[in-house]
């Protein structure tokens, strides 16, 4: 994946670029808003990471200009402002995801990869398959090895989100936001309990575990080795 980082703080930008490269992505860095617009408009990026406060042109204006110019590259906004208000404003301005500083690098990587996938066309698939686990989005039926697995509506939505991002790390915050629409941090890690419930239904009686816990990051569904 090719990632454009528009971030004025050189240390942060360098750290992000290094982390992305370690995860197998290519990364370019622009240090101010105008340079960011120039690079972004040239195209060829799968995702851009835009800091909200930038010299010359602020992050929201960068995204707005690129959108005006027809660039559809998904944008992740980084910001020191973390309230729900700021988030809503950022998403309204054309951002696709929003991450408040300080953040865990695993969270950022997971979100960037999810955004890159979102740009891919397979989104509209009517069924998701991971190994012998099949989720039918039309009938809302889930089967493994052909045997039906009854799920609660919430469990279904959780599994659907995980399978949509099969092979990618999905963080707890991403699950909270996308499955429950909770944009705050519940003090206890309730997500873990939901996951273990789901795991009991889809993995327990089968030899190959599909739902993996990625230490220090989140969860991933996939039939390959982790």
């Amino acid at each position: 994946m090719r990632v454009l980082i528009i971030e004025d703080d050189e240390k942060t930008a360098g750290y992000l670029a290094k982390a992305l490269r370690e995860n197998g992505h290519a990364a370019d860095v622009a240090h101010d808003g105008e340079a960011g617009v120039d690079l972004g408009a040239a195209g060829g990026y799968d995702v851009m990471i835009v800091d909200r406060m930038l010299p010359r042109l602020n992050g929201l204006d960068v995204i707005a200009r690129l959108r005006d110019a027809g660039a559809k590259t998904p944008a992740l906004i980084l910001s020191a402002l973390g309230t729900v208000d700021d988030k809503v404003q950022g998403l309204k301005a054309g951002g696709d995801d929003y991450l408040a500083k300080p953040f865990a690098i695993s969270e950022l990587i997971a979100r960037v990869e999810a955004l890159g996938r979102r740009a891919a066309p397979e989104e509209a698939a009517s069924r998701y398959c991971v190994g012998d686990l099949v989720l039918d989005r039309l009938t809302h039926k889930v089967t493994r090895r052909g045997e039906p697995i009854p799920l609660q509506p919430r469990e279904y939505r959780l599994l659907e989100y995980l399978m949509k991002h099969a092979g990618q790390v999905v963080t707890r915050t991403m699950l909270l936001e996308n499955v429950w629409d909770y944009h705050f941090d519940p003090q206890t890690n309730v997500i873990d309990v939901h996951i273990s419930r789901l795991r009991a239904k889809i993995d327990k009686q089968y030899d190959t575990p599909l739902l993996h816990t990625i230490r220090g990051a989140g969860y991933m569904i996939g039939d390959g080795a982790v």
Binding site: G82, T83, V84, D85, V88, P102, A104, R154, W180, Y182, H183, F184, D185, P186, Q187, T188, V190, V193, H194, S196, R197, G216
Partner: protein, 467 residues
């Protein structure tokens, strides 16, 4: 600006002055008009009477000549009254009448003349005003017929004097009242400014006493007091946050530092790794605490209300219960919900969800058995209560339990930041309500009361979202 000058510039004084001028002007006009009309009427009557008499005497002269005229005049002059007569012969000699003498100018005049004449009175001669008509015959005789109008002149003077005195008194009273009211008002306003300055410069807990019995100054004072209260609250909340940062964030920061130090002295790579992971976990906790503190401070300052929308609180509660249900089951508890289909409020859904989630989280931590969630519609309000069957909170500890970072003895062994209830309380107050802790006998019942959406608000909301 001197004090006197300031007084003259008060609104009360200016208004009184304007009132005096206006009232004085109108009454002066009315009085002058009345006086002039009466005077004109009286003058005309007088002139008519004189003219009639002149005509009558002319007739006498025509009938009986000079002798008859002299006779008549003598007769009339003798009668008491204000009538004045003088007949002068062709040779200039006085023939008859009660006028002693008349200046030559009057004698030479024709038509009506007004002049001052002298006549004997109680204290020698007195000067009086007369209005006369002069008539001359071709033979050279001249007749003067007139009236003494001294009484009238005196009356006019008395009236003028009375009017001037009234006007002066009115003006003085007006200015006086204006100055008095102005000074009283100025005094109270000055007191008000002095007291506000004193409060702002010193103890923000001070308030300005009301003393006007509910007048407009009292209303102003009440708003000022309201402002002070808000300022006091904001300053207190700011101080509390900085105190919290000083006291309660130092401990985890110190722990973080210790862990990092331990990592440095670790023997092998796996120990390094574990220690670093612990450090990151500690840092994440700190960030979480910090975020919670900031959002509480912002909520208490009244921020975050910008995106209020019509929300169904019952749905928020159902979703939260759905979210926590697996955790409850894992902890051996169950969640029961009593909620109507709809409980509409104007609110920020994320904040409400977070507050309710915090209450449920607490109930699951400390309760056992059943946790009951209920949504009740009370007049104008919605009450979300989360009741557990745990040890509860003793009555004297309830107020303290809502404060930031306060963790009661019983809870110290459980994880948590001590901010959950503070945040819920701040959310409730942002939504026009409050958080109450009650006895669930046994257990704790936390009640999040917020203002319900009125019919008007609901309508406005629908209108704006569809339009």
């Amino acid at each position: 600006m001197t004090a006197r000058f300031k007084l003259l510039r008060t609104t009360a004084f200016r208004l009184s002055l304007l009132y005096v001028l206006l009232f004085g002007g109108v009454s002066a006009t009315a009085l002058i008009y009345a006086y002039l009309s009466a005077d004109a009427l009286f003058s005309r009557q007088l002139r008519d009477a004189i003219a009639a008499e002149v005509a009558g005497l002319s007739d006498r002269y025509a009938e009986g000549g000079e002798d008859r005229l002299i006779e008549t005049i003598a007769e009339r002059s003798a009668a008491p009254g204000a009538a004045l007569y003088l007949l002068i012969g062709a040779d200039g000699a006085r023939l008859a009448g009660n006028f002693r003498s008349v200046s030559p100018e009057v004698m030479q005049a024709t038509g009506r003349v007004q002049f001052i004449y002298r006549r004997p009175g109680a204290n020698g001669f007195e000067e009086r005003m007369a209005l006369v008509q002069v008539k001359s015959w071709p033979g050279g005789q001249r007749l003067i017929v007139g009236r003494d109008i001294e009484e009238r002149r005196t009356l006019a003077e008395v009236m003028r004097g009375a009017f001037l005195a009234c006007f002066a008194a009115l003006t003085a009273a007006g200015v006086g009242v204006g100055l008095f009211v102005g000074r009283r008002l100025l005094q109270r306003i000055d007191d008000l400014s002095d007291e506000s300055r004193a409060i702002l410069g010193g103890d923000l807990r001070g308030r300005i006493p009301l003393r006007g019995g509910g007048d407009e100054i009292d209303r102003l004072t009440a708003s000022l007091n309201g402002m002070f209260e808000r300022i006091e609250r904001l300053v207190a909340s700011l101080r509390e946050v900085s105190d919290n940062i000083a006291h309660d964030l130092r401990t985890p920061l110190n722990r973080l530092r210790n862990r990092a130090e331990a990592a440095l002295h670790g023997a092998d790579a796996s120990q390094h790794r574990d220690a670093l992971e612990a450090v990151i976990e500690e840092a994440d906790d700190l960030i979480r605490t910090f975020d919670a503190l900031l959002s509480i401070a912002r909520l208490e300052a009244g921020e975050g209300g910008g995106r209020f929308a019509l929300v169904n609180v019952a749905d928020i509660v159902r979703n939260a219960a759905d979210f926590y249900e697996p955790l409850a089951e894992a902890n051996g508890l169950s969640i029961v919900i009593h909620a109507p289909d709809r409980a509409d409020a104007l609110g920020e859904p994320q904040l409400l969800a977070q507050a309710i989630a915090n209450l449920i989280d607490n109930a699951l931590k400390y309760g056992h058995g059943v946790v009951t969630l209920s949504v009740n519609l009370a007049d104008g309000g919605i009450e979300v209560s989360v009741a557990d069957r745990g040890p509860g909170v003793p009555e004297h500890e309830r107020a303290r339990a809502v404060k930031r970072f306060v963790r009661l003895e019983a809870s110290r062994s459980k994880p948590g930041s001590g901010l959950g209830l503070s945040l819920a309380a701040a959310v409730a107050s942002l939504h026009g309500g409050a958080l109450r802790l009650e006895d669930n006998a046994p257990g704790l019942r936390a009640v999040l009361a917020i203002r319900a959406a009125g019919v008007e608000e609901a309508k406005a909301e629908c209108g704006s979202s569809s339009g």
